[in-house]
């Protein structure tokens, strides 16, 4: 057989990318529909569409109960799940690109823990700070304080990790993982201290953080998280070429004209913002940032032009799927979402490792 020329190879890549993005988009729409339709009261997807279309035209569809369930209870939860899944998966893809390592996941290397620690700290101690502010600022701090605290926590963890693990532009995998474990443990210890200081009510709020959940989603949370996730999308997508080049090495990326320092700064700030916001709204949810980019790379190749948007779409779809499982498996009670993603993600990840070991012949 004649080996494929560059033209065919490139055309094949473009076709595969376009098809893959389309599949991811369809999966996301299906997951959103499932998230709106499935629950203690199951509503047919056609009915869900009717209610949504009517709401778009500014009127409430007949059958008020269904409209309430879809629009007031499940829609904010679905939108928040979409945002959180996008943030975690895209954040994972970006960090993996910057660290040049497929194991960099915000959950695995301590970034989510840093955010959770700061968020819990804000829950327990933040009211002291709010009390000290003038009334107008206090109201702002009351609503924006939590995501902002989580952002700062995520940013500090990411920057610390980067500074520790990277030397002369090369990131050591082992150092990165160990440093991530240390940062995670330190954040965990800090979180423990906060738990010790917390009141009963604060303690209940806190349980929510440690396992992750989309329970208690409101439109207010959706609006608070949305700008961070949009910011991440806007910051990430133009970095595709730079991240492809960084895969060759930081010096090589500089040689082909990439401003490496600027790329790293943008990526780290955007990831910290979006992961911080995701953790602030839904707690620590692991494995999405690890598994989703990995799946996309296996199916569609490593080029970031496709990897980044496909990860965002598939991340939203997978998180919504996991949430549907979380709230139907032991209905009417709910499993913590982080437990479900870990139950699905960890065996999947081990399977990948085994397959890779088999492929390498030992």
């Amino acid at each position: 057989m004649q080996p494929a020329g560059v033209k065919e190879v490139q055309a094949r890549g473009v076709r595969r990318g376009a098809l893959g993005l389309a599949v991811c988009a369809v999966l996301l729409v299906l997951a959103m529909l499932a998230s709106l339709a499935i629950g203690p009261v199951t509503i047919a997807p056609a009915r869900v569409m009717e209610v949504l279309l009517a709401a778009l035209q500014g009127e409430r569809a007949a059958g008020v109960r269904e409209a309430i369930v879809v629009l007031d209870i499940r829609l904010p939860r679905t939108l928040l799940g979409l945002l959180v899944g996008m943030a975690l998966a895209l954040g994972g893809a970006l960090m993996q690109g910057i660290f040049r390592n497929p194991l960099a996941d915000p959950g695995l290397i301590g970034v989510s823990n840093g955010a959770a620690f700061a968020a819990v700290g804000w829950i327990v101690l933040g009211h002291h700070a709010v009390d000290a502010l003038p009334a107008g600022l206090a109201a702002l701090a009351g609503t924006a304080g939590l995501p902002f605290a989580a952002f700062i926590g995520a940013l500090l963890a990411t920057v610390a990790l980067y500074l520790i693990a990277t030397r002369d532009g090369r990131t050591s995998v082992a150092t990165m993982l160990f440093a991530g474990i240390a940062i995670g443990a330190l954040s965990g210890a800090g979180t423990g201290v906060m738990v010790f200081l917390a009141s009963d009510q604060q303690l209940r709020d806190f349980t929510f953080w440690s396992f992750g959940s989309l329970g208690g989603s409101t439109f207010a949370k959706v609006w608070a998280a949305a700008p961070f996730v949009v910011l991440l999308l806007l910051a990430a997508l133009p970095l595709a070429r730079a991240l492809d080049a960084i895969a060759l090495g930081e010096a090589e990326a500089f040689h082909v004209g990439v401003n490496v320092q600027r790329t790293k700064r943008i990526a780290i700030a955007a990831v910290a913002a979006a992961v911080g916001a995701a953790v602030a709204m839904a707690g620590v949810i692991g494995f999405i940032g690890l598994v989703v980019p990995h799946l996309v790379r296996l199916a569609l190749g490593p080029g970031h032009r496709v990897l980044l948007p496909a990860s965002a779409l598939l991340g939203g779809a997978l998180l919504l799927g996991a949430d549907v499982v979380a709230r139907t498996l032991v209905s009417p009670a709910e499993l913590p979402l982080g437990v479900v993603t870990a139950m699905m993600g960890a065996p999947f990840f081990l399977g990948l490792l085994l397959r890779r070991r088999a492929a390498l012949g030992g």
């Binding site: 494929a4 560059v6 033209k7 190879v9 040049r100 060759l248 082909v256 004209g257 190749g301 490593p302």
Partner: protein
């Protein structure tokens, strides 16, 4: 010709790192249409000087100029339009195909299948476009990276960067004899097309084959520069590498080197 305005040059470079003086007033000039080769013992500062020239390392003293501009003033994008760099070895973090790796040399990062094909053809890797870069041998990877620099030079020329400059750090290190000749031939062809070429080479006989000018570095200083005939003398090479050496003459009146014996422990046979 150290002061050509139309050239790419490092002048009087000093570089300190970790308390060591890596470069001590070294300089090199790459002129359009010519091949310059850096030689010298390990640790003499050849790769360091190449990194300073490329803009990757900031020197502690001295300056690097591309034409009339200071390299430190040109941003990465403008610099990339006018010079390409082949590092010693490049490992790619994710399973990119050969064609994708080569296309990274283009400013848009993709497309340009004609340019990519042409470049892969020039390094005799055209049939391998769809393969995973990570699975190639060291020599194949080196040639794919060379193709990436060719694509970059061509894209730079299209965007008004002129024929440009190519810096190569030991481009023949992991290649067999045929491939070494391929790379040297390519260096000469590029020079004939107007590209200024600078290569670090360890093999002095290859240096002689390729070079218009040889620059010898020792302990961060330039100790000799000139045509191969001028630099390749028994005394110079012996002093440079601390090895007794005798220069012979190949059929085409090119000097070649045969080490004249081993020195140190265990040298007697």
């Amino acid at each position: 010709m150290p002061h050509l305005l139309n050239s790419y040059r490092a002048e009087n470079i000093t570089l300190r790192a970790g308390g060591r003086l890596l470069l001590d007033g070294a300089g090199v000039t790459v002129a359009p249409g010519r091949v310059s080769v850096l030689i010298g013992p390990n640790g003499a500062g050849k790769s360091t000087l190449l990194k300073v020239l490329s803009g990757e390392l900031r020197p502690s003293g001295g300056q690097v100029r591309l034409g009339e501009e200071a390299v430190s003033r040109l941003g990465p994008a403008l610099l990339a339009r006018r010079r390409a760099v082949l590092p010693q070895s490049v490992e790619v973090a994710f399973p990119f195909t050969v064609a994708e790796v080569v296309a990274i040399g283009r400013p848009a990062g993709r497309g340009g299948h004609e340019a990519v094909s042409r470049a892969l053809g020039r390094v005799e890797m055209a049939e391998r476009a769809g393969e995973a870069y990570q699975r190639l041998s060291g020599g194949e990877k080196q040639r794919v990276q060379l193709a990436r620099t060719l694509v970059q030079l061509e894209a730079g020329a299209e965007r008004g960067g002129g024929p440009g400059y190519l810096l190569l750090d030991e481009p023949t290190a992991s290649l067999d004899l045929a491939q070494q000749m391929l790379v040297l031939r390519l260096m000469r062809t590029l020079a004939a097309e107007g590209v200024g070429v600078l290569a670090v080479l360890h093999d002095l006989n290859l240096a002689v084959l390729a070079a218009d000018e040889i620059v010898a570095l020792e302990a961060g200083r330039v100790v000799a520069r000139g045509t191969p005939h001028e630099v390749m003398t028994d005394a110079r090479i012996g002093a440079l590498y601390k090895v007794p050496a005798r220069i012979g003459w190949a059929p085409e009146a090119l000097p070649f080197l045969l080490p004249h014996g081993l020195v140190g422990d265990g040298a007697k046979r």
